[in-house]
Structures are given as structure tokens and as C-alpha cells.
Symmetry: C2
Subunit: 341 residues, 2 copies
């Protein structure tokens, strides 16, 4: 490490004591004359002095480090949320440590421990689908560490949650297809271990029931998450002779996988089958026909989770433990037949 200017150097150069110099950098000290403060600040700038953050962190009982753990980076969703949160934290002087669990509960545990060793002042986590770490997390929370969950949340973990209103928007997505004339719908779902996947299923059921459309359990399939998963699920459906006239997928990749198979079987989208995705990604505008989807305000979510964590750190009383986020229905050709600009 290169040599840095210290407060002592600065004090020496100015003929002041280090105590006085220190006060100049701490705005909540008023017992220092404006002129000396300015003099100190001026030469500090000239010399390129910056207070050593580690000395500060050692003394104060906070590290100004925040940990963020997400299950994957496959969907751009997570990078978008994270970088928005990171920006907010940095503005408040907090550093962010980002880790990916890669959908592995054990690695998730490792990540949590690593972050604890770095003495983070707070933790934001989106758990893996088979997370077995709720007990450990609760211990941490009990011990006083502020934690916020988002997206993939667990009811077993006692920390505030920021989640998309999956139920509501799954209803909207399904109803959109019904409005377009679909009667024989299929839902391509995520793993049933993921609560938000369950909400999307419930939303699908709700819409079907509301419009009195009959459906069998075969029409709700646990497909997975990737394009390949979507392909496999669609293939299984076709093999069993199930040809829907509408597909409501719990994710864009699933929808795109299904579309690939349909096209391979010369089943036309959207005239024969209409398709809608979820958690819109850049892929939606690339696939053909362009995919209708539900977009989530990732930037807003990032800001919100950082704000809630910061509030907790500041000791503000929590207003509510569940924050429900709304999205947007983006209608494109895959569900209407109309090319929309």
C-alpha cells in the first residue's frame, strides 16, 4: 500500500493538534472556529488527505459494510437490483459485498459466514430454493444484525421482506390471455420450493376459476427455470397430447423454451397458442414473436431494500414486515397477434 497522509501530518503542517484537525472533519462539532476549520479543510484538499476509514471503523462500532447474497446471476433481474442497491449504499458511505450462492444451500451458508467475518453492518439476502439456513439466519438476526429479504424469501426467517406481488400479477397475466380468447391454458411454473413460484400458480388458478374455465392438474407443470427447462416441459406436454391455446410462464426463459418447441412443431404463435412470460428480461424483445411479459421495477426494488436496511441499522421502528411491489404488463405480439412498437 502506498503511504497516505495522516491526520498527524496535517496537524504538524498546520501547527495544530490532531484533536482540532479531527473536529474539522466531523460536522457535529461546533466548538471550532469557522476560520480554522476552513484552513484545515483547505490544506487537507491540497495535501490530498482523506481520513483513514479503517481507523474510523475500528473505533466506531460499525464497519460500513453491507452484504448482499443472491441465488444466481442468470436472470438480469438480480444484477439490476443489486447495482441499484449498491449505488444507494455507496451514497450513504456503505460498501457492498456481493456474493452468489449459485442455488446451493451449502455455499449460501459459506457466503453468510464470509460476510459475518467481514463484520457487515447489515445483510440483504435472497435465499436459494432449497435453503436450509433459516435457523442460522435467525440466530444472526437474534444477535442483532439487521437483515432484509427480497425476491426469494422464507417465512421461516424473521426479517422484513420485499417481494413482487406475484399473485396479483399472475392473475393479470392469465386474465390477459383469457381476454385474448384463450380457454385452454397451461402454466409453466418454477420449482415448487420457491414461494414466489407458488404465488404465481395461485394467481393462475384464481384467474381460471374467476372466469370459470376448467383445468386439470396436468395443466400446471413444475417446469424449472431455464430455456432448456421450458423446452423439456413443452415437449412433455405435447407428448401427452396436450396442446394449449395459451401459455402463462413463470419466467421469460421458460416461455422462450416453450416457444422454441412449439415452433419446431409448426404450431403458430400467437394464432394457435398465445404466450406470456414473467419478470421481463432483454430476451423478450429478441425472441420472435416478441414476448409479452410482466416487468418488475428492479431499480426501485434495489432502492427500497437498501432503504429498509439502512432504516433498520439506524434503529428506526419498522413500519411493516412485507413490502409488496407492483409491476407492469407489457403486451407484445406473442399474446395478441399484433406487432406492437
Amino acid at each position: 500500500m502506498k503511504e497516505y497522509i495522516t491526520i498527524k501530518d496535517l496537524a504538524g503542517k498546520l501547527g495544530l493538534s490532531i484533536g482540532t484537525v479531527s473536529k474539522a472533519f466531523n460536522p457535529n462539532y461546533s466548538d471550532i472556529s469557522v476560520s480554522t476549520r476552513n484552513r484545515i479543510l483547505k490544506t487537507a484538499r491540497e495535501l490530498g488527505y482523506v481520513p483513514n476509514p479503517f481507523a474510523r471503523k475500528l473505533l466506531k462500532k460499525q464497519t460500513l459494510n453491507i452484504g448482499i447474497i443472491v441465488p444466481e446471476f442468470l436472470h438480469s433481474y438480480f444484477s439490476e437490483v443489486i447495482f441499484s442497491a449498491q449505488e444507494a449504499f455507496l451514497q450513504q458511505g456503505y460498501q457492498t459485498l456481493i456474493m452468489s450462492s449459485n442455488e446451493d444451500s451449502d455455499l449460501e451458508m459459506e457466503n453468510i459466514k464470509t460476510l459475518m467475518n467481514h463484520m457487515v453492518d447489515g445483510l440483504i439476502i435472497s435465499v436459494t430454493k432449497t435453503s436450509k439456513n433459516h435457523e442460522f439466519l435467525n440466530n444472526i438476526i437474534q444477535s442483532g444484525l439487521p437483515v432484509v429479504q427480497f425476491n426469494r424469501v422464507s417465512d421461516l426467517v424473521d426479517a422484513p421482506k420485499v417481494i413482487f406481488n406475484d399473485y396479483k400479477w399472475a392473475v393479470f397475466a392469465t386474465e390477459h390471455l383469457i381476454e385474448q380468447g384463450c380457454r385452454n391454458l397451461v402454466h409453466l411454473g418454477l420449482s415448487k420450493h420457491i414461494p414466489l413460484g407458488k404465488q404465481r400458480i395461485l394467481g393462475f388458478r384464481k384467474a381460471m376459476d374467476k372466469h370459470q374455465l376448467p383445468y386439470s392438474e396436468d395443466q400446471i407443470v413444475e417446469a424449472g427455470i431455464t430455456i432448456a427447462d421450458g423446452e423439456a416441459a413443452m415437449t412433455r406436454l405435447l407428448d401427452r397430447g396436450i396442446i394449449p391455446d395459451g401459455i402463462m410462464a413463470a419466467g421469460d426463459p421458460l416461455a422462450i423454451g416453450a416457444m422454441k418447441i412449439l415452433k419446431r412443431h409448426d404450431i403458430h404463435i400467437p394464432s394457435q397458442v398465445k404466450v406470456i412470460g414473467f419478470t421481463e428480461s432483454a430476451l423478450a424483445k429478441v425472441v420472435e414473436p416478441e414476448l409479452s411479459s410482466i416487468s418488475q421495477p428492479t431499480s426501485k426494488i434495489g432502492k427500497l431494500i437498501s432503504q429498509i436496511l439502512l432504516d433498520q441499522i439506524a434503529g428506526k421502528p419498522m413500519e411493516k414486515s412485507v413490502h409488496l411491489i407492483d409491476g407492469k404488463l407489457n403486451i407484445r405480439e406473442s399474446s395478441t397477434g399484433l406487432p406492437i412498437q
Copy 2:
């Protein structure tokens, strides 16, 4: 911040001095009996003691912080490289601070300053296309901070570079189209301010010359970077009556934008026009027909840049200042007419 166990607590519990306890955690101290070391380590584990990293950072002349600055997160390329590098750093005990300049030279300067204030031990940077910060960066380097450049590099900055062999692979990409029978090629390029964009242009020229194919300057267009840029560039070409039989794009989004316009004009891909992209992304397998492209080993690049920086920090002599990375030509339907699995 919650209360942490300190070395003093541990020493008290064990009836030892803090000095002895400290040595137990420092492997290069041999003047401590194996039995007491084990005893210390055991109770440390039981009590959940971890050395306070900030006290350590204050004492030692290093912060164990690394800064990474990238121009954008639009392409998954950057997230992939970064997370691979971060993993490598974390294994060596280094924290990573990631910042995006959002293609803005001023913000880039801010980012550099922020990271300097966090006293990073090293900096990895991929500069913005209009970066005006080479002088500032050189000052930092002069002052002793290890710096590594990657992807978007500047010859004006005196730091080792890790770059893709854009020239070579641009030749390959172009020759691939020529081998497929294309004679009237067009190159959709990045901004001319980006050196790697220039290399791709040179590669294109080289391949054309080598195969004695004539071309005008109109066939090398500075398109931009996004899908919309690709659309605009292709539209301009068609308006001027230029219909190529092959398109070599400097990025997947550009290729996809061009494909959109071609399809809108009922120009068939690949029978009438063959297309190849660059820096393969997830989009390549979603667009129709699937896009041939050049993939870069992002994970390997991440590992390499971290290794080079770590070596510099350790004071090892640098072997070479430019590291050239090779990629892979992934041939798909857009350039051949053959659906490839």
C-alpha cells in the same frame, strides 16, 4: 453493530496473554507450543472469535480492498468477468468494490476517487469510450498503486492489459462468412473511440483483402452498441440501396438489430444474408435463426485479471504488459442455413 468477541475476551477465558493468542492465529510464528495453539484455536471456534479485519488493516499497510470499474452492465460480459474475478479475490482474502461508470467519463473519475478514498490495494479498470482520465490514472499508477486494464483499454494508461484478440477473431468471423459463400460483406462496428472496435474493423479488412474481395468504405459502418443501434444502421444501409450477403457485427445486439430490420424487409437469413455476432451473449440462442457468434472465456478472463493484479501487489515482476485472450467460433443457423444443435 453487534458486539464481537475480541482477542482480549479469548485471552481472558483461557488465562493467556493476548500476545500468545495472537500468535496462534499467525502461522508464521513457531515459538508457541502446539498444544496451546490448538487449545486457543479450539475455544476460538467455540466462542466464534474472528480477528477484527479492521484492526488488522489499520496495522498492516494494506486494506485488502480491490476496486473494479467497468463502463456498463448492458452486456452480460462484464458481470460474468467481474464475478469470476471477485471469487478469486475473496479466496485470497480480498474484498471487491465494483462500480459502473455508465459510459460517462466524469462518473468514471468520481468512481476512481471513491475507490482511492477506500484505499484500495489495487484497481482493475475497463475505461469508458470517451475516457479523459488517463492522466489522473497515470498519476495514481506513478504513486505506486497496482492497476490492471481489461477489455476497454487505453494505450495512454501505463498499466498491463488483458484483451481479447479482437483482430484475429474478427478475421475468423469474416472468413467464416466468406467460406459460406458471402462476397458482398458489411461490418457493423462499435464506436470508433473504442480501440477493440478498431481491431475488429482491421480484422474485417484483413479478411476481405486476403480473399481479394473489394469493398467500399460504406460497407464499414460505425453502428453503435445496442439492438436499436443495429436497427438504425441496417435501415440506413437499406435506404442507400446496400444489400449485403453477409454481415459481420462487432456485437450480438448489433447483429440482432440488423436481423430485425432484414426480416421486416422479408430478406431471408441466412439464404439471402448470413450474419455473425461477436462477444456471445444469451441472446444468440434466442434470436431466430440462432446467431453464430464469437464467445469469450469470461470466467478465465476474470481469473487472469485478478491473478495479474495480485502478482503486482505481491511485487512480482511483470512478465508481459499485454495478455491476448482467445475465444471460440460458435457456428449456428444464422450463418449457415443449417440448424445446429
